[in-house]
Symmetry: C2
Subunit: 195 residues, 2 copies
DNA sequence: TAATTGATTGTCATTATTGACAGTAAAGCA
DNA sequence: TGCTTTACTGTCAATAATGACAATCAATTA
């Protein structure tokens, strides 16, 4: 009754990672099926079998990037300690391990650039970004309950902006001291909340 | 002795603006000659006449984007008042007029993404970015001579990162209050220098 | 073993894009 | 008017990429 077992999920992950990598490097239009196949170590028809045509491919990509973002945030937040959460958060965001996922951010940037023409995509990117900032804001508020919302939101926005900037500039291989500058600024922003 | 007068410079500007616009929207590979022509209101062969083949085109683009960045910075700095320069700088950076040039930043982002594979390009983008931050730092130092260099550099880095983030996220058409948040954070960073 | 289901591959026509070249038009000067 | 220089256009072969379909392989169950 049943046939060959599906490996759809693992293949999907494998293909998606290759896709993200290619889009990060060559942009949405520059990511050729052949390149994706090469990156994934698979054949072109197989990629197409899993991803469908180009339009569907972009749909899968947005779904993947956005959902991964959201779940990455929740896991990061759940990994925070009980006290000094905001400091720990900033340390996680600007540690090497977190910055080692720049392809994701670059792919996200490619999507946002295209969002000019696509209202749906724009809405998705926007809510994704806002929920990221909101998650940060929530943690900040826990540590600083007496600070008013605007300052909390502004600080969260600043930390998010710094994170995106540092991460999306990873291809430039900036000198090491520049990276630590971003972390320093983020901590300064946290200090401001203690006044 | 002399022939038809050249309009190379004006055409060059016209073509370049169309190119920047297309690259901002569709990425480096997605910017088709036909699209550029359509955007510029010219014919495809004419575009090719001025830009040469694709490789040369990218060369022209980097030259254009980077030089415009540098000269935009110098003009902005020369437009600053005598006193309270750092505050005025932040206001200029986050005013509507400055943010109305997001295509430039998006094109720059496309170039940086490709810089992974191209050492020359990487070096150019890097120095361009660093000189931007240095220009900011110089102004900050004028207003706060007693603050040590690391804090100055960190603040300059933060302001630059905020600017890039806000500008490159322009396609998302963020709600108005979010934009003012970035400006607020930048001013907060300035306040920190007064301790 | 046969059947079934899905993964994987091979192949090809269609299309889009490029690169190149020859040729035409326009604008200045002798 | 003729000459020269540059802008601009038309056209076409070559290439790269896509989309689609048929065919084959692999794994599981009856």
């Amino acid at each position: 009754m049943a046939g060959r077992p599906t490996n759809r999920d693992e293949r999907y992950l494998q293909v998606m990672q290759a896709l993200v990598r290619c889009v990060a490097r060559f942009g949405l239009e520059g990511a050729t099926l052949t390149q994706i196949a090469k990156e994934a170590g698979l054949t072109r028809p197989l990629i197409r079998h899993h991803l469908g045509n180009r339009e569907e491919m972009i749909g899968y990509l947005t779904e993947f990037v956005i959902s991964r973002f959201s779940e990455q945030n929740t896991t990061m937040i759940s990994a925070l300690p009980k006290q000094e959460r905001s400091t720990a958060l900033v340390q996680m965001l600007f540690s090497e391990s977190a910055v080692s996922a720049p392809d994701m951010v670059l792919a996200f940037a490619s999507l946002t650039a295209r969002a000019t023409d696509d209202a749906d995509l724009r809405a998705k990117c926007r809510t994704s970004l806002l929920s990221f900032e909101d998650a940060i804001a929530k943690i900040l508020r826990d540590d600083h309950p007496s600070v008013d919302d605007i300052r909390i939101d502004a600080t969260a926005h600043g930390i998010a902006a710094l994170y995106f900037n540092v991460t999306s500039l990873a291809p430039l291989a900036m000198p090491e001291n520049r990276k630590s500058l971003a972390s320093l600024v983020a901590h300064n922003l946290l200090e401001d909340l203690k006044d």
